[in-house]
């Protein structure tokens, strides 16, 4: 008696600042032969007109759903346009939504949670965020939109990779991973990427994300960067020209060789040194010791120089609280700039008040369904403003099937998935948001265990 429920049409949301390459990617998606017919909803101020049969211009219109609560805002224009598109669904297989550079992805994603018709007929394939690898660092600290676009992403394209060095890319990727630990990151030039990596993401897959990207649950470090310099005999100095913070901690550790193994050994040593309470303050013009002393260099306006007291030629590992590029920090020996090799970016443990981070929790045990429901509802109600997205696969006691929860701000959606079968029952969840207290989230979730 029931009419058959049609398969939901996949929707891909494309976000990214102006100039990040959204239009290039869009044109690729529309012109390459991938066998899918795509309907495009383009923001009204799109960078270029796209010659395509089904392009609809949208003027961003926010509908408030619950007395102005920002967590419950949806995009009215998308409801209207997609409602219209779904009345000609035989004409296309996929909907692509391009947002403006400054758009908050929250209301876009929330629309798929809140509107009855959209929930039933459409499914988010992925939020794809393009990041201009060259310029993102210039506005990431000042623009909430950039952070939110990264936080909401299922897929991130680090685009324009040809304009930056591999070390800069490592550093940027580490920073982005700290903000959103579950997004799949691809490095691209000219938004050149295999189309299935954009159109066939298939919604959020937590297990996939954790399974292929162990860095998501890797330890955090009190520094963001480390590298080994092979320095010659003679005078050497650090030079910096930018002062993003009042000070920065760094340590210089002698190592036996310029190898990955030596860097890994020194890294563990550096963790212990950074946890020391004793700091040696170093104002510009003073010198730094290369003997594992934890220095706090004081940053001022203009060019700053510190003499480095290397005991002689050799290999020295240097670990810095922030990425050297942030303060344009260079090591000069004999007047020439030195390059670190090997070098690595690390997932930092320090969080600024407004920093966007992700917290992953994995526990091999069954949880109590009622306790889990109450905890998630209370958590999202109280902290929904700061939690951009929440996703989790849970092993609920007594339930042979996996239970999947997805949340956007205060909105929560639960679905019964496939049976656990032979797989080890466990709970895997992740929160992406601001001001997240990792310890508190861990502890409070553990109270939900059966």
């Amino acid at each position: 008696m029931n009419t058959p429920t049609p398969t939901p049409t996949p929707v891909t949301v494309l976000t990214g600042f102006l100039g990040s390459g959204k239009t290039t990617l869009m044109n690729r998606l529309l012109t390459e032969q991938h066998g899918q017919r795509i309907a495009v909803i383009e923001n009204e101020y799109g960078e270029i007109g796209i010659d395509h049969e089904l392009v609809i211009n949208a003027d961003e219109e926010i509908f408030e759903m619950n007395n102005g609560c920002i967590c419950c805002t949806v995009r009215g224009d998308l409801i209207r346009i997609m409602g219209n598109l779904m009345k000609r669904r035989d004409k296309f297989d996929h909907i692509l939504i391009e947002t403006t550079g400054l758009a908050d992805p929250g209301p876009v994603v929330q629309t798929f949670f809140v509107d009855d018709d959209m929930k039933e007929q459409l499914a988010i394939n992925a939020v794809v965020t393009l990041v201009d690898a060259k310029h993102i660092l210039h506005h990431i600290d000042d623009a909430d939109e950039a952070k939110e676009q990264i936080a909401f992403a299922d897929v991130i394209l680090l685009n324009k990779c040809d304009l930056v060095t591999p070390a800069e890319l490592d550093r940027l990727e580490a920073r982005i991973k700290a903000m959103n630990g579950v997004a799949k990151i691809h490095r691209t030039t000219n938004a050149d990427i295999e189309i299935p990596k954009i159109l066939e993401v298939g919604g959020f897959n937590l297990e996939h994300a954790i399974g292929i990207d162990p860095k998501f649950l890797e330890p955090e470090y009190p520094f963001e960067w480390g590298g080994i310099f092979t320095v010659p005999e003679g005078a050497a100095e650090f030079v910096a020209t930018v002062d993003p913070d009042p000070s920065m901690r760094l340590v210089i550790i002698p190592v036996s060789a310029a190898t990955e193994e030596a860097l890994a050994t020194a890294r563990e040593q550096a963790v212990r040194i950074f946890s020391a309470t004793e700091l040696t303050e170093a104002t510009p013009g003073t010198s730094l010791k290369a003997d594992s002393t934890l220095h706090e260099i004081v940053l001022e306006e203009g060019e700053m120089r510190w003499l480095v007291e290397f005991p002689g030629a050799g290999n020295f590992a240097i670990f810095t609280e922030h990425y050297p590029e942030e303060l344009d920090l260079k090591l000069l020996a004999g007047g020439a700039e030195m390059t670190a090799h090997p070098a690595a970016a690390y997932k930092p443990d320090h969080e600024h008040d407004e920093e966007v981070t992700s917290v992953g929790i994995e526990v091999e045990a069954d949880c109590d369904g009622n306790k889990l429901n109450r905890w998630l509802s209370k958590l999202l109600q109280e902290k929904g403003n700061d939690i951009f997205r929440m996703k989790g696969v849970f092993a609920v006691k007594g339930n042979p099937n996996r239970t999947i929860f997805q949340g956007v701000h205060m909105l929560l959606d639960a679905q019964e998935a496939d049976p656990w079968g032979e797989r080890k029952r466990k709970n895997s969840l992740v929160f992406i948001g601001r001001n997240l207290d990792r310890e508190e989230l861990n502890q409070s979730f553990r109270k939900c265990l059966a």
Binding site: M1, N2, T3, P4, I56, D59, E61, I62, F63, E64, M65, N66, N67, G68, V74, G76, D77, I79, R80, N84, K87, R88, D90, K91, D115, D116, D117
Partner: protein, 348 residues
Amino acid sequence: MKSAARLMPERWTQLLDEHTLDLRWSPDGAYLAGMPSVGRIAVHDAETGNPVALLPGHAGGNGGITWHPARNTLATYGQDSTIRIYEAPFVSPTREILLAKGWADRIAWNLDGSLLAATVGRSLFILDGATGEIRQTFSEHKSTICDISWNPKRLREIASVCDGGARMWRVNEGKAIGEFDWGGASLIVSWSPNGRWVVTGDQTPSVHLYETNEGTPLYIQGYETKVKSLAWQTDSTWLATGGGRMITIWPCTGKKGPRNATPKQFLGHLKDVHALDFLPGQPVLASGGRDGLVLLWLADAGGDPSLIARRSAEVTSVRWSPDRISLAFGTADGEVTVCRLNNSLQSL
């Protein structure tokens, strides 16, 4: 649920190019116009179902169709922002009017056909019904206009809804004569036949009912989904609302109207109700839903509905003919069917 197939046998079925967006009977009941979401707009002979005209669709998708209230004159409208007006026998448009660029999908003639209203984005255009000249533009809307409804009692008054609720306008006056911004978005609007009420179906699962001479609107919540269909009985006694599977019918008579009243609630559809229409002059309601069912209800008596038809695709439109004997319904796969009463309604 009892079958009403004998009471209302199907007379004919035709296929539109796409999803049925709307069906409209001509004022004399001789024609039924069927508008698909994209493609040709069909004008059917109401008796046989044969298409007497297949009018070109609008580039970018069709939006709305409206018959002149007294003549067999049809206006079609769509995303190309072009109004095309056809006179029977609908060979070619007698007039084409291009409005501004933007989201264009609502069009309606007023009660005597002297004015024609059409929406583009946040603007409501009022045109002279005879010449097509733009008489006035009401542009003070917070977002794209979702729906419009003329006052059936006052020729120059029209209501529009968007994010921010409803506004009432009077042609020749610059400012809104009524403004009900309740902080959310309203999607559909209908002015009661007696001109007393303006009702909106909202994005949040709610209905707002404004008594036009009172300041305080009635805010009705508790619907399962957003309210996508509204219908008035022609004497304004009953207001039918569809939000979710349930049809909720409010009494709108007396001094208080639905205030503190207990509505009638009809549950028969298995999925969301998409379309409602009262038989003119009778408390008989037709409903169509996502479950593919077309049902008939006695609004004042309640009880089980009568099953008129069952389709595999969702029913998107139901319309009674002006001669009160035929019911047209359309589906998401473009099927248009007309059933005709061949017995007394007492047997329902």
